[in-house]
């Protein structure tokens, strides 16, 4: 991979990886930026380890989600964000404002299990289901069933806070 290839790769995948990280960090922009940077640092430093067993996008998403999963500080912050938002969802009236609904969406996403969070974030980013299945390590059929269940529970959580 040349520096020019890396440049092209960054422009092609960075926006999706960034939003994926944003979903993981419950909307914490600084953290999402940090993870985006870390993902592409790993992509460059380990470019020789990419053997083409999977497609390049699967490889990049794997690195990104593993970085999010493995970051200790993320988990610490997430717990705090989650607790704050959960308290809000109990005390507040149903949300109308767009910003608040997005906050609520982040809160509901953060309540999902690690794996379900990864699945829905990738799906919402319109990453092909074949790529999602390969990144996560699930059969395509299982993935489809799981995604439909997650969507339902997420919508229910955003609407009613459960």
């Amino acid at each position: 991979m040349t520096e020019q290839d890396f440049n092209q790769l960054y422009h092609a995948y960075a926006p999706k990886v960034h939003r994926l990280c944003l979903g993981y960090s419950s909307g914490d922009l600084d953290l999402a930026n940090e993870w985006l940077q870390e993902t592409f640092i790993k992509v460059w430093n380990h470019r020789n380890a990419f053997r083409g067993d999977s497609s390049i996008d699967t490889w990049i998403y794997r690195i990104a989600t593993n970085i999010c999963l493995g970051d200790i500080r993320k988990i610490k912050k997430q717990v705090i964000v989650k607790e704050e938002l959960l308290t809000e969802s109990i005390t507040e009236e149903p949300v109308n404002d767009e910003g608040e609904t997005i906050e609520k969406m982040y809160s509901c996403i953060s309540q999902l299990s690690e794996q379900n969070r990864t699945l829905i974030l990738m799906e919402l980013e319109n990453i092909p289901q074949e790529t999602i299945a390969a990144s996560v390590g699930l059969a395509h059929g299982t993935l489809r069933t799981r995604l439909s269940r997650i969507r339902k529970s997420l919508l229910n959580c955003i609407k009613h806070g459960i």
């Binding site: 940077q37 592409f40 640092i41 430093n45 593993n66 493995g70 767009e98 299990s113 379900n116 990144s135």
Partner: protein, 188 residues
């Protein structure tokens, strides 16, 4: 459709792209790699110097000073080698595994880290303290009382500092392990 509302909501989120460029990332990546090579080089040099010292001097004129010095340096070197191997292993898995397998690997990894934290590290610290204690009589004999007191105090402070740092990292890793275990239980 209901599902489209979720997509709509997702698309509405902000999240402006950061200002750094691919070139900035390349610069950082190269710096990070260089730093890793330098640490390995420094470590290798330390091991070489330690081995040369042991074979040329320590084993010929065996006394508690040599023993103390060897214990101190080898316990530090051992701890650093284990740490580097552990980091390298984790990173090589990070880029190779799918999310599910990496999640499982992380739990195993932090299980191994427990062995390092609760068994190997205390052994290294105790070995280091024994080595340090063996040096003290020589310091007392060859240095002034003031300098000897300084060595005692600074030695105790640095050992204390190392212990606090290690304890801090143990607490962090324990927290992560608990999070990983609870997130698995939450999986539907």
């Amino acid at each position: 459709m209901e599902s489209d509302k979720l997509q709509e909501l997702w698309n509405q989120q902000g999240g402006k792209m950061p200002s750094f460029t691919p070139d900035d990332i390349l610069l950082k990546a190269k710096k990070q790699r260089k730093g890793q090579y330098i640490s390995i080089l420094v470590l290798m040099l330390t091991v070489v110097i330690l081995s040369v010292y042991a074979f040329l001097y320590a084993f010929n004129q065996w006394n508690s000073f040599n023993l103390g010095l060897l214990l101190m340096i080898s316990s530090l070197v051992l701890r650093v080698i284990i740490e580097l191997l552990s980091i390298y292993r984790k990173e090589s898995r990070l880029i190779a595994m799918d999310h599910n397998s990496y999640h499982a690997y992380l739990k195993k990894y932090y299980g191994i880290r427990r062995v390092i934290n609760y068994l190997i590290t205390p052994v290294c610290i105790i070995t280091y303290i024994i080595g340090y204690t063996l040096l003290l009589p020589y310091f007392k004999e060859y240095f002034s009382q003031g300098f000897y007191t300084y060595i005692q105090v600074s030695g105790a402070v640095s050992i204390g500092g190392i212990i606090v740092l290690i304890l801090y990292s143990i607490v962090k890793e324990e927290r992560l392990l608990k999070q990983l275990q609870s997130s698995k239980k939450k999986s539907k």
